[in-house]
Amino acid sequence: MSLRVGVVGAGGFGRAIALASARHGHEVVLWSRRERDLPDPIRMSTDVADIRDCELVFLAVPARHAVEVAEQLGEVVDGRHSMVHVSRGLVGAELKTITQVIRDKTVCRRLGALAGPLVADALAEGRPSGAILGTGFPDLTGMVREALGGAGLRIYETRDVVGVELASATVGFLTVVLAYGQEVGLDPSTLAVLATRGIVEVSRIGQTLGAKESTFMGLAGLGDLIAAVAGDQRPELRLGRALAQGVDLSNAVGEAGAYVEGIDVAGHLIEHARRLGLETPISSTFAAVTEGRLSQDDAIQALMERRVGKE
């Protein structure tokens, strides 16, 4: 049965979702502030009211625009709508997830967060891939599978929505750290320790915000990080390499070619952990390096000298 799918945002992921949905025979409207060229049968719209008739809405905008866009959507959506976002960011110092923002600004309640190793190109072209959908609503999973799934895409489900959102946001930051490590020539074993302990570190913080540890060890966390290390060419990798080459943060962000949410997230996460008295050796050390407070060598030495405990 054909769905009426709305896509908000005409970035790489928004376009990929629109293409995948259209390929599966659904009626697709893509809402963006500026007019864009889109292949048929995707309908382009600059009027948010066109989202009103969609039953499933994908939100594909960066976290920094989420509040404003959610406010606009709040004027047209109601209890009949289901909404899924693909953002890798969090909002503000209080680390609000995007579903929390949508809940605050709209009356939409059937919400989900799509994350994991899925990249825009694979989705657009229908290459085999997998993703994880965090939602409390099993019928929403069915709709998303119907809209995007099929033989090419395995969409797993979890009820730990906040876990998916936090894992996805923190993996973005860990990817920058690992790309930095690769570029400065760290051994694969060192990178493996950095990745594994990094996941443990962010999952510890995530649990204080209501996430489950297991979600960080699944597709939304470790799975996504493996895809990044395997070299899926996401902007976080370019940012990490540029930083390792000594480019300062603002220029490195420019070299990444796309907005990297992980950097904003990292600062707020470190502050949150500090308030709760949690240790964040990897995040804090990396922040010190990017801010020029610590040299590369001192950073590695500081991490290696830490007391080793149980896993």
Partner: protein
């Protein structure tokens, strides 16, 4: 014997001339004429879900027999002598029964259990109670004024806040479900009184069967529409019956009350996690009415019950500290069951201005949206929407248990937020927080239990303390202006010194242990666990009301709530 008689056979007034409800009467006045229909509706729905599937039916019967045998074997009372034989014989026969017999047995069990749950409502008892209750409670507080103006004592002690006019309008348009925070066994009594003085309708609520053993309470409970919940029964069919009974009542427009926290907050903290069973029954009532095209909305009223002095404070915090909250789900030996403690408590309360504040929060629909006086669900910007859309699938309302469970979880989150915003912080709680924070600040690195052993060892300069109290109060008022929390009139109006003296006078003389005492210019901390109990209400706001020097201590206090 008497206990069982009272809990099994309700005492009722003889019906010489049945009361015919008037159109203006609250919905519960119709209950007696509908009771048999409600019971058979519940029985029919439970049986319909189990009967088509033999495996499911057999599991339900086995589960019922197994749990009842276990319960009765432990109870070893008259009920056990009567019923144990029935269940033992049944469990042996279940496998050999044919479909018809299994269904017949299921019907019998479910009917008996539902009848046991269903309550009664007698308008005469209701009228008597609404006139006598304030006088009785007031009389306990001031025996000399029992006959004269005792109800005034209650008005002075009990304050009611909220948009009462909106609730009064909504009561005629749909089912109101009051969902309060839970601190004390007195909650249902003071809440019933608050509803009465606010011109709000009486409500249906589930009361623990243990309460029915007291002949006077039993008489009122039986005749005021309370339904009976026997927490000793672990049978899953029984839990289904309780939920469905609540659902059917709400579907039929009976205003209801339940405590989503499930049990009294042992720590004194504001509930952050709510139990979803009964909450879900109200959401499903909304869905069922939508599917049947019955236009009877359901609205939730988040309610906070705020005491300056909590009757059972010492037992509750002790229980929390012993981490036995789960094991002692039903505490039967606390202050609530000791009549001398009741008298001491009420005597103390009479001298307290605004000792209890009940705040009825703004009503919300089952999906957490605010509702206007006409009952319209609103978006954050005030656009009216149809809540029926939430239960539609391809344009048609449908029952979907998994979807409704997800809505219920979302609603639980909204309630937890609303409890924080609608909590009215009382003088004792604010003073306890500042004292406890000073204790934490002056004992860096010490763990909670080591701190709780420091009785009478920490003295604080009174003047410094008053200054800190003043600052904390100002910051709380700033939070109040942002809508994060509320403070009582006493907290707003007293000077810091008056606040301190007031709190000390409230605690001392009622609780067995001393929270703190004034010794010249010093305030000496007595039992830190009592301070902990009262200050726990401020856990979510600890960091917001701390100065930079107090932040570390405030963070430690906030972390007390991190693993609830």
């Amino acid at each position: 014997m008497l206990k069982r008689f009272l809990s099994e056979r309700p005492l009722r007034l003889p019906h010489i001339k049945p009361y015919v409800p008037r159109p203006s009467d609250p919905s519960i006045f119709w209950f007696n004429s509908e009771r048999d229909d409600i019971v058979s509706d519940v029985v029919k729905r439970i049986c319909t879900t189990h009967e088509p599937d033999r495996a499911r039916l057999e599991i339900a019967l086995n589960d019922a027999a197994y749990h009842e045998i276990r319960r009765l074997e432990t109870q070893r009372d008259e009920e056990a002598r009567d019923r144990l034989g029935y269940w033992r014989s049944m469990i042996r026969r279940i496998g050999k029964m044919d479909d018809t017999e299994q269904r017949r047995v299921l019907h019998t069990i479910v009917t008996e259990m539902t009848r046991d749950v269903a309550g009664n409502f007698d308008p005469r008892v209701y009228r008597f109670a609404r006139q006598a209750a304030p006088r009785l409670i007031g009389g306990i507080m001031e025996p000399r004024r029992l006959v004269a103006a005792a109800p005034e004592s209650l008005d002075r002690v009990l304050k009611v806040q909220g948009d009462l006019e909106r609730l009064r309008q909504l009561q005629n348009e749909g089912s109101l479900v009051f969902v309060p925070t839970h601190s004390s066994n007195l909650d249902s009594i003071v809440l019933a009184q608050a509803l009465e003085i606010s011109g709000l309708p009486p409500v249906v609520y589930g009361a623990g069967k243990n309460l029915f053993t007291n002949p006077i309470i039993s008489f009122f409970m039986h005749n005021l529409g309370a339904y009976r919940v026997d927490r000793r029964i672990r049978v899953s069919l029984y839990k289904d019956i309780l939920k469905l009974y609540s659902q059917v009542m709400i579907e039929r427009g009976y205003h209801s009350l339940f405590f989503p926290g499930g049990t009294r907050s042992r720590s004194g903290m504001i509930e952050r996690h709510v139990k979803l069973g009964l909450l879900g029954s109200a959401v499903e009532a909304f869905t069922t009415n939508q599917v049947r095209r019955i236009d009877r909305p359901v609205w939730f009223v988040p309610t906070t019950i705020n005491y300056a002095l909590v009757l059972e404070a010492e037992t509750l915090i002790k229980d929390w500290l012993m981490e036995e909250g789960q094991a002692r789900y039903i505490i039967e030996d606390d202050e609530f069951s000791q009549i001398d403690r009741w008298f001491a408590f009420f005597r103390k309360m009479v001298g307290m201005r605004g000792a209890c504040t009940i705040r009825f929060g703004d009503p919300i629909d089952p999906f957490g949206n605010r509702v206007d006086a006409r009952g319209q669900s609103l978006t954050p910007t005030g656009r009216a929407i149809d809540p029926g859309g939430y239960v539609e699938q391809r344009g048609k309302p449908v029952v979907d248990a998994l979807r409704d469970a997800a809505y219920t979880r979302e609603l639980g989150e909204v309630l937890a937020q609303r409890y924080e915003q609608d909590t009215v912080l009382m003088s004792t709680q604010v003073v306890a927080h500042v004292l406890f924070r000073d204790l934490v600040q002056s004992t860096p690195g010490m763990d909670l239990f080591a701190r709780l052993r420091l009785r009478g060892e920490i003295g604080l300069d009174r003047e410094t303390l008053c200054q800190e109290l003043g600052e904390a109060r100002d910051r709380l008022c700033a939070l109040e202006a942002k809508g994060r929390v509320r403070t009582s009139d006493v907290v707003k109006e007293d000077t810091p010194s008056e606040l301190l003296e007031r709190a000390l006078s409230y605690w001392n003389g009622y609780h067995d242990s001393t929270a703190a005492t004034l010794e010249g210019n010093r305030v000496v901390l007595g039992d830190p666990s009592l301070l902990l109990y009262y200050q726990n209400r401020l856990v979510p706001f600890a960091e917001d009301i701390a100065s930079p020097e107090q932040l570390q201590a405030a963070c430690e206090i906030r972390n007390l709530g991190a693993h609830r």
